[in-house]
Every structure is written in C-alpha cells, then in structure tokens.
Amino acid sequence: MNLESELNVALQRVDPPEGFAERVMESVRDGSRRPAQAVRHTMRRALAAAALIAAMLGGWGVHETLRARNELLTAMRIASHTVAQAQKQVNRR
C-alpha cells in the first residue's frame, strides 16, 4: 500500500453515531443555561443575606437610638431638676 492509499483510508469520511447532533446541541443549551441559573441563585442568596443583615443592623440602630433618647431625657431631667433646686435654694436666702 502506498502513501496515497493509506491517507485515503485514514481520512475516510465517517458518519457520527445516531443522536450525536441532538446530544451536542442539548449540551450547548444546558451549558449556556447553567451559569445564568447559578448566578441567579447566588444573587438570591446574597440578597436574602443582605436583607437579613440590614434588618438586624436596622433593629440594632433603632434600639440604640431609642436608648440614647431615653438617656438624653433622663439626663435632662436630672440636670434641670438639680439646677432648678439650686436656683430655689439661692432665691430662698
């Protein structure tokens, strides 16, 4: 067998197995769908986590602010009472 004949045999056209084209196309479709789904899942999880953290921080912030408000009113009550008492004592003399 000469070289030309060997090449003809080696490069002979071969038909693909049955269903090969469909499997390839399906694989391509799945491949393009999967990353988008994964991104959507990750984004949903991240948003849920962010919402939870925001709710926790928001709750903490409101609690701290209300505590500060009560402390402020307490401080003003004590300060005003003490100064008013001193003024009364001075006026009595």
């Binding site: 500060a68 009560n70 005003s80 008492q85 001193a86 003024q87 004592q89």
Partner: protein, 170 residues
C-alpha cells in the same frame, strides 16, 4: 522628676478637656454597686444629635431646641439607702479639673441638706460648659453639659419629663 513628668503628661488631656467644657467624672464602679439607684449617662455630640431625632411632640420641643446647641451630656447620679454611704473626697477629682477659666456661679452649703455647686465656662456672651455637683447625705449627682447652655431654660424644663428613672439593674 520622672514621676512628675509622667503625672503631668496624664493630666494634660484632662486639662484640655476641661477647657472645652468637658470634665471626666471618674467615680469608682463600687459606688454604683453600693447605691440603691444609680444613673450613668454618657452622650457625646453624635449620640445627642441621633437621640434628638427621636424627640417628638411639644413636650420634647424645648429639649430638642436646647440639645441642638450642645456637644455632650454626662451625668452620674446615685441614691443611697443610708447617710454617709459615699466619701465626699470622691468629688475632688472632678473639682480639680475645673480650672481658673471656670466661674463658680452658685454655692449652697447646708449641714443637713443638699450642698450644691454650679460652675460655668464662659465663652463670650454665652456658656461653653456647665458642671453641677449636688451632694446630699443620701444622694450624689454630678452633671457636665458641654456646649451653649441656657441655665434658665434648663431649669424651666424641670418636670417636663415623664420617663422612669433608670436604676442600676438596667
């Protein structure tokens, strides 16, 4: 000599505070433990502004207006079940911070009742700081307000606050 320098270095920030109207009310935690009721409030400018946003209604309007000019409110108040439960010398640490630029505007001395001292830090026509020390046999209150305080307005606010007194258990 080294000890003197170290002491001076420690006192320098305290002195700088006092010139801004702020004094450090450094009382031992054991005092609160001994007290039947105690109040400890530390609100700097940021916290004051934050807290004042939650003030609403006519009752709080006077406080809101006053607080807008302040940079800090610091209060220690103790009520004891028996006479002489605290050492009057504890107050000296606060008095030492009140330098010559402060003016003592009120001194009330009574053997049986309240001893009150009111100091102000004048800044132009207004006041940049206020320190009130009220010492009774069963009660000790120290108030430091930093910022432009209107004393008459502050006294007129008495009785406008319907909130419960904070206890040491809170």
């Amino acid at each position: 000599m080294r000890n003197i320098i170290v002491t001076l270095l420690f006192l320098m920030p305290v002195a700088a505070f006092a010139q801004n109207g702020r004094v450090i009310i450094d009382l031992p935690p054991s005092l609160a433990a001994k007290a039947a009721e105690s109040t400890d409030v530390n609100l700097d400018g940021t916290m004051l502004r934050l807290a004042s946003k939650f003030l609403s209604g006519d009752d709080d309007a006077g406080v809101r207006d006053m607080v807008s000019k302040l940079d800090g409110i610091y209060v220690r108040s103790y009520e004891f079940d028996e006479d002489g439960a605290y050492d009057p010398a504890l107050i000296d640490g606060v008095r030492r911070q009140i330098g010559p630029e402060w003016k003592r505007i009120v001194t009330v001395r009574s053997k049986m009742r309240e001893n009150t001292e009111i100091y102000t830090l004048p800044r132009g026509d207004s006041i940049a700081g206020l320190v009130v020390i009220a010492a009774e046999p069963r009660e000790l209150t120290i108030v430091n307000i930093v910022g432009a305080v209107d004393l008459d307005k502050l006294a007129s606010l008495e009785g406008n606050f319907g909130i419960p007194r904070m206890s040491k258990h809170e």
